[in-house]
Symmetry: C2
DNA sequence: CGCTGAATTGAGTCAGTTCAATAAGGGTGG
DNA sequence: CCACCCTTATTGAACTGACTCAATTCAGCG
C-alpha cells in the first residue's frame, strides 16, 4: 500500500510544469519560474486515457483547455446527418479545446488514438491568471493565432492539392512535429488509421493506401503497417509541392 | 476651407465606437460606456481603401488588428510558386489580422473588394487594455475561437461537399451574415468576382458560373451579374446539405 | 488459432477540370 | 455620350483524378 501511494505520488510529481520535458514547447514556455508555479497550481491532472476513449464529446460544456502530455488525439466533428469529419490531430505540448471558448460547448469530440495523458487547464482560472501574466496572455494569443495559420494551410491543402501532394504534406508535417519534440523526423509510428488519415485529408481510404504504396515503390518512404521511414526527404518535399495548379488567381 | 475641415471633423466624429452602428457586433460589444471610451481612444482611423487596394500585404510586420467599418475585403495567401489562395472574406464588424499575432508578420494580404473603411487597433495597446478589461479580453478570445470554428466548417466544406453544396453553403453563409448586420438576407450584392468565389471554394470559375446558372434555372436564386436574389431559401438549405457522403467515418 | 476489422489492390465510373470559344460588362478617353 | 478595349462571365465538349464497388490479404487480439 505505501508502495502504491509512493508510486502515485511520484507520478503526480513528475506531472509538474517545472520538470516537464515539454515545457519549452507548451503554454507556460515564456514564464519565469515563480510564475510557472502559479500556472502549475491551476492545472488539474487526469488519469490516462485509453485508446479510443474520449477526452470530451462534441456538445459538452466548455470548461477547460487541455495540454497533451503524451500520446495523441484526434478531433472529430459529427454533422446532423451522422457523417464525421476529422479536423485535427494533437501531439504532445499542443493545446486542445481552444475552439470551444466561443460558444460555451466544444464543437467536436476529442478521442485518444493511443494511451494518452493530458493536463487540464480550467479556462476561467487560465483567463484570470493571464490577466496578471502578460507573457502567459501573449502565449495564449499566439497559440490561437498559430492554429488559425495552420487552418489556413489546411484549407489550401484541401482546395488546391492533389492526393499525392496531400499525403506528402501530411507526412512532412508529422515528421516536422516529431523533430521539434526531439524524436526522429525520419522514423516514426502513425497513431492513426488509414481511414483517419483519409478522412482528415479529404481522401478515400483506398486512395491513401494506393499512394502510400506508390511512394514506397518510388523509394521515397518505407511503410510497414503504421511504421513509417522517410527514405528521401527532398523527394517527399518535391512531391508535396510539384506542379502547382493555377486555379483562378485573385 | 473651414467647410472641408468641418466635414472632416464630422467624419472623424461618426467614427467612434459609441456612435457606431456596428458596436453590438464588434469587439467592444461587451464593454460599459466608460470602458468603451478607453477602447475608442486606442483606435486609429484610416482613410478609406479603394477597390483593389491592400490594407496590408503578406509578410508585412504585424502591428495591428483591424475592424471592418464598411465595405469588404479578401485575404489572399501567395505560395512560393506564385499561386494564390483566397482564405477569407471580411464584412463589417469582423476582425482582420488575428492570424498575424503568432509570427510577427501577416500570413496573407488583405485586399479591398470595394471602397472600404476600417478601424486600426494597435495590438500592443489592445493587449494592455485587455489586461484591465476582462470583458474585452473575453471578447478577443471569443473572436479568435469563433474564427477557429469557422475554419473547421470551411475544412469540412472543402473536404466533403460537392460543388453544388459548396455554392449553396456559400450563399447561405453570406445571407446570414447580411441578415445579422441588418441587411436583407434575400437580396444582396456580391462584392467578389466569380474567380474569387471559385478560388475560395476550391472550384474552377467555370464550375461556379455553371452552378449559379443551374440554381437560377431551378428557381432557387435569381442572379444577375453580382446581384443575388434568394427565391427559395429552404431549397437552398436543402441543396447545401443533401446526399451527404460517408467518407470513412472515424 | 481462428476471427474480425484494417489494409491493399483492381476495375469501372463520374464530378469537376481543362481547353476553347463566345458574350457581356465596365471603365476610359475622345 | 459613345466607341473601344480589356477584363469578367457564360456555355460547350472532352478528359481525368479520385471515388465507388468488389475481392483478397493482412494483422491484431481474444
Amino acid at each position: 500500500m505505501p508502495d502504491i501511494m509512493g508510486r502515485h505520488r511520484a507520478i503526480l510529481n513528475e506531472a509538474h510544469c517545472q520538470t516537464c520535458s515539454l515545457s519549452s514547447l507548451c503554454l507556460p514556455l515564456a514564464l519565469e519560474l515563480e510564475h510557472m508555479d502559479q500556472f502549475d497550481s491551476i492545472i488539474r491532472r487526469r488519469a490516462p486515457l485509453k485508446k479510443g476513449e474520449p477526452l470530451f464529446r462534441q456538445g459538452d460544456v466548455f470548461t477547460s483547455v487541455f495540454a497533451v502530455r503524451s500520446g495523441s488525439l484526434k478531433q472529430v466533428t459529427t454533422e446532423g446527418n451522422g457523417s464525421d469529419q476529422l479536423t485535427n490531430f494533437y501531439l504532445p505540448s499542443e493545446l486542445v479545446g481552444l475552439d470551444g471558448i466561443n460558444e460555451a460547448t466544444y464543437p467536436g469530440s476529442i478521442i485518444a488514438l493511443e494511451t494518452t495523458t493530458v493536463c487540464e487547464i480550467p479556462f476561467d482560472r487560465l483567463d484570470l491568471l493571464s490577466e496578471q501574466l502578460p507573457e502567459l496572455r501573449g502565449q495564449l494569443y499566439r497559440s490561437m493565432s498559430k492554429e488559425l495559420r495552420e487552418d489556413r494551410r489546411m484549407m489550401r491543402l484541401l482546395s488546391r492539392k492533389t492526393a499525392d501532394q496531400r499525403l506528402a504534406s501530411f507526412l512532412i508535417t508529422l515528421s516536422e512535429r516529431f523533430r521539434r519534440r526531439g524524436y526522429s523526423p525520419y522514423s516514426f509510428r502513425l497513431s492513426m488509421s488509414r481511414a483517419d488519415i483519409g478522412n482528415y485529408l479529404g481522401l478515400a481510404v483506398e486512395t491513401v493506401s494506393r499512394i502510400l504504396s506508390r511512394f514506397q515503390s518510388q523509394k521515397v518512404v518505407a511503410v510497414s503497417g503504421r511504421e513509417v521511414n522517410v527514405l528521401d526527404m527532398p523527394a517527399l518535399i518535391a512531391l508535396s509541392e510539384e506542379e502547382e495548379q493555377e486555379l483562378n488567381s485573385p
